[in-house]
Amino acid sequence: MSDELIDKTDKKRKETNGHSDLKETNTGVKVKLFYGPEDLSNLNYKAALNDPGQYPYTRGIYPTMYRERLWTMRQYTGFSTSENTNSRFKFLLEQGQTGLSLALDLPTQLGLDSDNPMAKNDIGKLGVAIDTLRDMEEIFDGIPLDKISASFTINATASIILSMYVVAAEKQGVPPAKLRGTIQNDIIKEYIARGTYIFPPEPSIRLIGDTIEFCIKHIPKFNSVSVSGTHICECGATPVQGVAYPFLTGIAYIREVLSRGYQIDDIAPLLSFHLIAGGVQFNFFQDIAKLRAARRLWARIMKEQFQSKSEKAMQLKFSTGGMGGGLTEQQPLNNIARIAFYALAAAMAGSQSMNLPCFDEAYAIPTDEAIRTSLRIQQIIAHEIGIPDVVDPLGGSYYVEHLTDFFEQEIKAEMERIDKLGGILKCVEDGAIQKQLAHQAYEIQKKFESKEMVKVGANRFQIDEEEKELEVFEVDPQTLIRQIGRLEQIKAERDNIKLKNALETLQNAAYAKKNLMPYIMEAVRSYATVGEIVGKLKEVYGEAKQASIL
């Protein structure tokens, strides 16, 4: 370039403050060629950033962050059948693991017993089948429940599974106050993305309120809700929606419990979030900025809208994960690089916990090697390359602070837009959100197929390679036979009069809109099945209709 041309370009850039160079990123955000002091001229350090551990927690919720305590490294350790879950758990405990994660099969998640014809293809697949308390007792047999933390991927039937866990502990002599763990218990994203809903939204949210209330009173160490933004991002939600919708969801749960006379500072600390770093619409700096913005916005909402006074209520606790959606089946080792970038973004954003996808996830049930590699990625970031030494290392970056402001405004605007349309519940009930996400997912697919969106190895820089053989979950017919046999036996052995009374009392409590937890626990003690409890509640609540999405 001639000097004259450089001068001219420079002049133009100054005149337009860089806006002549706007470029659309892979996520549709328009960015300038570079950012400078003028982009942060309105930044007030104390109000917008402040030191780590100080309101509004933009730079992290704890003053010392990873220097004192690293993020929790979790890797999903695969699925298990009821037969080997107990021994697998005991093995993991011997290895020094203290947190156990229980995956449940789809029938259990949907309130269908193993002898229900709709369940036949899915029993014991993707997780353990739990029909009655007996299954829960056997899974945790000989495992001291006051010494471990258990997490359950369960939503529509969370109140029942939690009740079974509490009763199983009771039988071991462990009081509820000593139990630690997490239930996912986030129904709204089930209507939007994951599909394991049973009842209509309104009673479902009341049930979530029941579990939160029960946890506040009796199991204070239990995380009663993990509100997830990751599933909806895999279904087409934008990065902005991936924070806005879980925030609206969390607020809906909070309002439900507030209406029962609790204070914001009792409720909010029990909520945690699972947000995406990675995935189909990953952009390194934007994902970091989005999570910093999320922290600031949540603190402001808690303080300004809900008059929270407690730090714990204002601090946004989140785990991060990129699910497999951004990974490719082609040249799978490239995924290790992608996963490392996801993890680096999550660490630089100050996440409390990380679970990463695995490099073979696009075509297989992750192997031990792939699971271990994802754990090693976290350990390399934690112990080898200096990331934990300084809190919020990108704080003050012209670009990242600009993006943080941008995402805070966009997330807020999306929350307001949904509220104007009648709120998150209405938009989920009438399918407006599902429709929009389906549209966005379709647009992403078209961009991928037209190569406008680059996926290295999949639509650019391809090589000739054999198509990988897919691995899918197959049901062991023995699992099915054993589980149904066991269910028959329990049904024959239990006190059916006591059971009938418990179920009827539960149903009356549901009609009366009482907190159902004590009633569900009573039914569980009588060895009621998950399906019997759900059946009684269906008679009261009805079933959720599927919103039309086309």
Partner: protein, 138 residues
């Protein structure tokens, strides 16, 4: 002379799995290609899928299966279809289908299996070919 109507297709999600992003993307793609698309929604029993196929008088039935239950579902469905005399409906399967199962599915009468990484346009072309050939055979 008969007026040519658009191809009608039912996209269905049998079984309990609720992940239907792929089903919805394809439904939209087929619609954009000028077809009439009906989507059953998730968690459908084989019987209700067949009822919908009959009521909607479809040319094509597309099953989206990610749960690994494709063989047992397709055995049940194809058996019932031939009993009901619905053999002229073109049945397609998409989703997580291992290569080793493709031939078995075709033996059951599935016209084609679209595995992950299939392109919308390829599916559109296949359907158009298959349905117009069928009309000519009549």
């Amino acid at each position: 002379m008969s007026v040519k109507r658009p191809i009608r297709i039912l996209i269905a999600k049998p079984g309990l799995d609720g992940h239907d992003k792929g089903a919805k993307i394809l439904a939209k793609g087929l619609k954009d290609a000028g077809m009439e698309v009906i989507y059953t929604g998730i968690r459908q029993a084989v019987d209700s899928i067949l009822t919908a196929a009959i009521q909607e008088n479809v040319d094509v039935l597309g099953l989206s299966i990610l749960s690994g239950s494709h063989l047992s579902i397709c055995e049940e469905l194809m058996g019932k279809m031939s009993k009901e005399g619905l053999d002229d409906i073109v049945v397609l399967v998409g989703g997580f289908i291992p290569k080793k199962d493709v031939n078995r599915l075709k033996e059951l009468g599935i016209a084609e299996v679209f595995r992950p990484n299939s392109k919308i346009n390829d599916i559109v072309d296949f359907i158009q070919d298959k349905v117009s050939n069928k009309e000519m055979e009549k």
